[in-house]
Amino acid sequence: MDLFEYQGKQLFAKYGLAVPSGEVADTPEQAKAAAEAIGGTVVVKAQVQVGGRGKAGGIKLAKDPDEAYAEADNILGMDIKGHVVKRLWIEAASDIKKEYYASVTFDRSAKKPLVMLSAMGGMDIEAVAEEHPEALARLHVDPLVGFQPHHGRWLVYHAGIDEPAQKGVLDALTKAYEAFIGLEATLIEINPLIWTADDRVVALDAKVSIDNNALYRHPDLAELQESVTDDEQERMAHERGVTYVKLDGDVGIMGNGAGIVMSSLDVVALAGGKPANFLDAGGGSNAEAVATALEVLLSDPKVKSLMINIFGGITRCDEVAEGLLAALDKLGATLPIVVRLDGTAAEAGRAIIAERAPANVVVEPTMLSAAQRAVELAKEAS
């Protein structure tokens, strides 16, 4: 789960990591009130999860509350690379002496936390790593030992952090690691981490991702999930416990198991179609699971045809077929549906559909032929 900047900063503050004082605003009026409360020059920042907000005009300075009102009015509703701005973060402007970069990431490859620090902050860190690899200090931490002061010292010296800022950066790194562990994050990125004119070290941005599997231990973070999902179908799927990812095509796809669904998307694309989604109805795809999954799929108005790809293992294909018929009965879908059943009780399942399914449901014998048929039918329907 990726958090918004303002959520990340509020969490940073809890871990004692310095952030500029700020407030959330959803309207120009709230932005004005926030600017009054904060006092002085403020920064009005669009809350969207996409890079390049500043260049797109989503971050503006405002000298007084009236300017904050005007900038907020301008930025709210703005479309930044497909993300519509619904919320702003208003914070005190900072007097920046220098910009650094700091992060703690979950390094899958090494299977350990990786702490990175650079004196070249405020820019794309992948570009820094490519062009100036010596400017990026990197250190893996043994998760059974934890982040020790000497780790921090090594990073600060090797990143070439300016002497007056070293102590503050060391402290920020320690707290960022505490936040990484405490929040069970997969990413804590501070870019830039600034050295201010009055020699403080402050997190000016916050990129935080939390491990979904750990949310059961963090009910306060789990509550944030609602606010970070802005797609209607994805929200509906989440509420119903269906594993769903929206894509932009017109062939709706459902299967049992993450691997076979990913493979189904690929096969639809190979057949010249565009998948509308990823949907894994799970191993035990009973009638209820099939009905819930169908409901989510059909709520996407772009979907022109469906491909249902089931490999029966423990799940029996005849039960899936019965579930599908019951779901169709309830939902009354009329769009073309291509079903491919294989594995346990596949023949019985196919027979059930051949005998009793409405005319818009057709059976195909293989994954490839099912994909081709679903793609053809989507093209005919559009």
């Binding site: 990726d2 979950f106 899958r108 490859s109 299977k111 350990k112 936390p113 992948e126 043994d142 998760p143 059974l144 562990i181 069970e184 997969t186 491990d211 979904n212 599997n213 750990a214 059961y216 231990r217 594993t243 990812v245 894509l247 299967g255 049992n256 198991g257 993450a258 691997g259 076979i260 669904v261 990913m262 493979s263 998307l265 690929d266 096969v267 639809v268 694309a269 190979l270 998948p275 990823f278 894994d280 191993g283 490999f311 029966g312 293992g313 423990i314 294989d342 594995g343 346990t344 293989t366 994954m367 490839l368």
Partner: protein
């Protein structure tokens, strides 16, 4: 012969009295797996259709000599169950549980590096050596005894590919699900090493997916160390960056972990990669000719 599970397997099941645990334990036993014990705290002295239940894994090992454990407990208790199995001296722990937090697995993995014990999973379907033994949740009807090894991050896709291969009259030595989480106990390389040493495996199919760099590293290992031919498959060409595709580990981060990147890396190292499960089976048949 086979790898990981077979005639020598003496299985203890952690979470044996749960609904799923019991169901699959009995299926494994019916297939011929030597299931010697189950563990559920507080239920020592009971039995599950003749399988004795113990309070702790250590008690089960002392009483039965179990050498393999299968974990069926919910995610919030599963990390503890893995440590319990390791502490009891179990050689091979197979964690079926999906949803174990990544931070727990970072610590488990680091701990595991200090011993010779092996962990398969978590979030995996287990392993089967057709005709010998199965440990896990795989549908056994799909597999036939043979000489092709299969390693996969995904369950259903493994069944699909095994069936397509089976339809061409080719059976399997052992089929291994390594799991769909970002950190799993055994990597592709760990299992490829075992297949390379197995005289009864003539070819290996490696079924990968988006996320991480295990496939790329396996490609380098294959090129440098393997005489046994390997055929690859990668799922997730249509996956957008930053979205988890069902498995916790199936996610493209920035520009790394894409299906195209993995396919290109494998092919550059001389591994043939099929574009769909049917084509994978055809390449397998062609290579074995």
């Amino acid at each position: 012969m086979s790898i990981l599970v077979g005639k020598d397997t003496k299985l203890v099941v952690q979470g044996v009295t749960g609904r799923e645990g019991q169901f699959h334990t009995l299926r494994n036993k019916a297939y011929g797996t030597n299931v010697v014990a189950g563990v559920t705290p507080g239920k020592a002295g009971q039995d599950v259709e003749g399988i004795p239940v113990f309070n702790t894994v250590r008690d089960a090992v002392e009483a039965t000599g179990a050498n393999t454990s299968m974990i069926f407990v919910p995610p919030r208790f599963a990390t503890d169950a893995i440590y319990e199995s390791l502490d009891a001296g179990i050689d091979l722990t197979i964690a079926i549980t999906e949803g174990i937090p990544a931070h727990d697995m970072m610590r488990v993995y680091t701990h595991l590096q200090r011993s010779d014990q092996r962990l398969l999973g978590p979030n995996c379907p287990g392993a089967i050596s057709p005709g010998e033994a199965t440990v896990g949740i795989m549908p056994t009807d799909v597999f036939t005894p043979g000489r092709v090894g299969i390693i996969s991050r995904s369950g259903t896709l493994t069944y699909q590919i095994s069936k397509e291969i089976g339809d061409l009259g080719i059976g399997q030595s052992t089929v291994v699900g390594i799991g769909g989480d970002p950190i799993v106990g055994s990597s592709f390389i760990d299992v490829l090493t075992m297949f390379e040493a197995d005289p009864d495996t003539d070819l290996v199919v490696m079924v990968g997916e988006i996320g991480g760099d295990e496939e790329e590293r396996a490609g380098e290992f294959i090129a440098a160390n393997m005489k046994t031919p390997v055929v690859g498959y990668i799922a997730g060409f249509q996956a957008p960056p930053g979205k988890q595709m069902g498995h916790a580990g199936a996610i493209i981060t920035g520009s790394s972990g894409t299906a195209q990147g993995k396919k290109d890396a494998l092919e550059a190292l001389g591994v043939r990669v099929g574009t769909n499960p049917t084509e994978v089976a055809e390449i397998v048949a062609d290579t074995l000719k």
